[in-house]
Amino acid sequence: MASTLFDKLWASHRVTASDDGDDLLYIDRIALHERTGTIALNALAARDLPIRHPQHVFCVMDHIVDTLPGRGDDTQMPGGRDFIVSTRKAARHFGLRTFDVNDPDQGISHLVSAEQGFALPGLTLVCPDSHTCTLGALGTLAFGIGTSQAEHALATSTLRLRKPENLRVRFEGALAPGVFAKDLILKYMAEYGADAARGAAVEYAGSTVAALGIEDRMTLCNLAVEFSAFSATVAPDQTTFDYVHGKPLAPTGAAWETAVAQWRALRSDDDAAFSAEHLIDASRVTPMVTWGISPAQAAPLGGRVPDAQALDTPLGRKALAYMDLKPRQPLAGLPIDAAFIGSCTNARLSDLRVAAQLLKGRKVAPGVAAVCVPGSSRIKREAEVEGLDQVFREAGFAWREAGCSMCFYAGGETFGPGKRVVTSTNRNFEGRQGPGVRSHLASPAVVAASAVRGALTAPTELS
């Protein structure tokens, strides 16, 4: 029978099926961070349960750790030090590889997984973090789990799961100048809504996706959880193999050849059936920005906030009040207080390059607080080799150490109540970046252009 990419990934990891509809799925890799992972480790330790494959698990400090230069275990988040110290202790107890505060390979867990070759095509990978789906860009079946599930995966190398439905989202056509993966996915959510996937496993396909690099595919996959996908994957192709080749934990020599041969079969058969299929004409997408408090409340930057009738819902009214906007208000030109480039969504080298190109020879508008936080220490290093840090600094951006930083608020650093922030991150929920902070999600290019103008601005306007 014809099968989809997801069918193949699932079938190759199904240990057993039970008659109540759950499968026991084998889990190849587990990533943990100091914010949620440590609770799982401590729970296992308290029950005296061993980790089945400690060498298939790593820990990283990304969420709570500060991103200010010269950082240590102390954090701006009250009590943050505890998270870091407990993680280190639990990781040592179980003998886990740890990317500690000042490890040269520290970074946001999902990026570390990719950089290390910990995530590979055809593997299953979980992390108690909803944006684990980012790694589907490599053809990995990667998904976020809760802490209880993390305990189960650590102790048994398996999870009990019901196989989700399978949705294909196709992007077709070439991108216009100034349009990026972030715009594609915001456009998709604006059209199909925040529960578009209804728990289904998503496969991204189409000519647009095939032409994207791995880092852009990661942006697409990252946002999948924002429209309630279980996971998102892109079939591995030559672009994937070129990316994975030479990563520290990737196979080498003869094993590499065998692996690639296996990975080439990881694609949906031509006649495979999906439970649903959605299509976006990518050639017509323009730079996007969110105006509300759900990532699906997005609109073309050249457009307006929806009209009063469309917003006459609890969520619509809440969004207008929280964001301090009016129906039909134009988005371009909306004054901003801050600009943030960071997160597992859009803080990879290619993102920093795009932003730097727009910032070169320009200055951040007076009064705008601008911060750039590379997604990993490795990305930071590579950016510095190219001199991108200089470009950011000269333009007036703060240049930080790697981590999640102000992608979310944990009681520490924030832009401040009422501040309007244009941000390359993935969540614009109420209070996500701090109490009262108004977040407008956009591509790094839109963030850079808006920082220069001091108002929401499309990158193509900046000439």
């Binding site: 057993t16 209880s148 529960d195 196979p251 819902t313």
Partner: protein
């Protein structure tokens, strides 16, 4: 975990769609490396005057009698979307919630609920509106009764609404067994699968130095 079979309790309705786990418990309320002490942070942004001011907001249902005693929560589509934080479920449980009734759920949140013995009951739009209506007039009198085996929620006037839940989740809730113990009881099947799996794709195995070659 707590087993779930039947439950009677006061219901509170938050009928907005897409209530995310950041709203259920804001990140700053996850102060310690612990599953405990989170109930106070439940819906903190809506429940208290300000992030640094714990004065209860009189207009919020969990601050009003009798819904401050609610053990059943009614909501719209995609409840618990967003961050995977199980803290959202621990906070709901600590407050006293035993069941969430909604049109649909965030996938990770839903599994977290089951893992903690909290029922997730799926009811269609009309059903939710009906339940909310029953409870609105007199929540203390109009308690809801949930029967998991029968998949039925009954209201004050003897009216019934059917709900959906996956068979496997219902089984887990009814048994209340620890899933790790259950899985490890039959660890040989994992051993057998794993041996095949690692033979087929040796690069998966990072336990030996020569895994990559």
């Amino acid at each position: 975990m707590n087993a779930f079979d039947t439950h009677r309790g006061i219901a509170v309705a938050f009928l907005t769609h897409n209530i995310d786990t950041d709203a259920i418990i804001p990140s700053r309320e996850m102060k310690r490396v612990s599953k405990e002490g989170l109930g106070e942070g439940l819906f903190a942004n809506w429940r208290y005057a300000a992030p640094d001011d714990r004065t209860p907001r009189a207009d919020f249902a969990l601050n009003q009698a009798p819904t401050n005693e609610a053990s059943i929560l009614l909501s719209g589509r995609n409840f618990g979307c967003g961050s995977s934080r199980e803290h959202a479920v621990w906070a709901l449980a600590e407050f006293g919630f035993r069941a969430i009734i909604a049109e649909s759920f965030g996938a990770i949140f839903q599994k977290n609920c089951i893992a903690n013995g909290i029922l997730t009951a799926e009811v269609d739009t009309d059903g939710i509106a009906g339940l909310a209506q029953w409870c609105a007039d007199d929540p203390a009198q109009h308690q809801l009764h949930i029967d998991l085996r029968a998949r039925v929620i009954s209201g004050p006037t003897g009216k019934n609404v059917r709900f959906n839940i996956a068979e496997s989740d219902a089984r887990k809730l009814l048994s209340g067994l620890d899933p790790i113990t259950e899985t490890l009881a039959d660890v040989e099947r994992i051993d057998r699968f794993e041996a095949d799996h690692l033979r087929r794709s040796p690069w998966v195995d990072l336990s030996t130095d020569d895994a990559g070659t």
